[in-house]
Amino acid sequence: MSCSLVTISPELRGRAVRVALPAMAPAGMVPRVAGKSEREMRLRHLVDTHVGHVARVLRNAGTAEADIDDDVQRVFIALSNRLDDVHVGAEKSFLVQTALHMAAHARRTAARRREILTDQPPEMVDPVANPEEMANRRQVRQSLDHILGQMETDLRVVFSLYEFEQMTTEEISTVLDIPRGTVASRLRRARSDFRDRVSRLEGLSHTEVG
């Protein structure tokens, strides 16, 4: 899979997004440029099929809840701009790649903003909550954000795609453009890390309760 640095602007306000382009059609089999109505139908179908998926990838990759709607729209605008280059069947890969890079960009921007505004680390939601609080879905989300936010980015991405998006290691290998063995290795480490952090959280929670 080829990779290229694509600046999807101005819709993305100049955001540079490295997008691994889907496999291009072989010579002589270049897909014809779709007519306007056909193109719209394809886009609409892709939104219908993948909008929740894109939102979930963004959210679990660290995008703030308040930014999800805008960033989902940007991901699909990027797809719209490149639709004629994206093979039928490769759209999901394109969407996931774009969403991951957009989330990474958002994380870097947020980190820079914090550096400028304050030397203090961002306010963290107390991950230790009593059972009643943990039963609250918001608390669960905050705890998940806390755990994912502490994982190495490479591990977090593989973990999210495998455990939350239920993609296969082969699909993840294609999307991230890394060997399948590397995906498996990162997944093992990510799972171990995740379970360790969950155990620590449970231990802290029990201590608090006790």
């Binding site: 109505s37 039963a135 455990e163 969950v198």
Partner: protein, 231 residues
Amino acid sequence: MDEPNRLFDQTGSALERALLREGRSYQGSNDLRAKTLAALGLAGSAGLATGGALAWFSAKTWGTKVLMSISAATVLVGIPVGYYRLHPHPSPAPALRPAEITAPATKPTIPEVHALQAEAPLPAPVVIPTAPARPAPGNTTTSSALRAELAALDAARSTLASGDSVGALSFLDAYFRTFRRGRLHPEAEVLRIDALAKGGHMDDARRYAQEFLRRHPNSVLAARVQTYAKP
């Protein structure tokens, strides 16, 4: 290479399962799909329901599709679509002033859109190992109003696509009157700029485009408007 079982399918603690369930179940806001379609200029009655989408997708002619849009708009919005189709605007729609955008000319005939809640109401506390949390209730009115907005915009868009910029402006005029606090105002404004430009009212299109960019400089729709804003 065998795929390892997902953690969710393995035995784990209640907290672990709750965390995994949350990671899997996130879907974004209730109107995310509608907003995304609108941002792509695809706001449409055809996408209001799965059946509608399939019917739209399988329609063989654009005439059929346009009629489907108009029918849905008639049912959902109450805007007298038939009137507009049978009695086209007698003269080119007068250029609208930005101040008129929210000025109600008639009493709305459909439920007004309520302001989007900052956050969906949280469900009542549940025991962690139970089934996934159900979507928060109480958004039916908001969703139906949004669907009506989408239908209205799609009627305008379809009309514009057929080359009838005057008719499209009439639809948009009705939209702004009816949805005084609509959530898709930015999308409707962009569509109006498109319609004005296609109707040859370049000065008005430019003025509206500049006004749009002044009020929504960071909108995801700004790129579509930039070209019209240049003198």
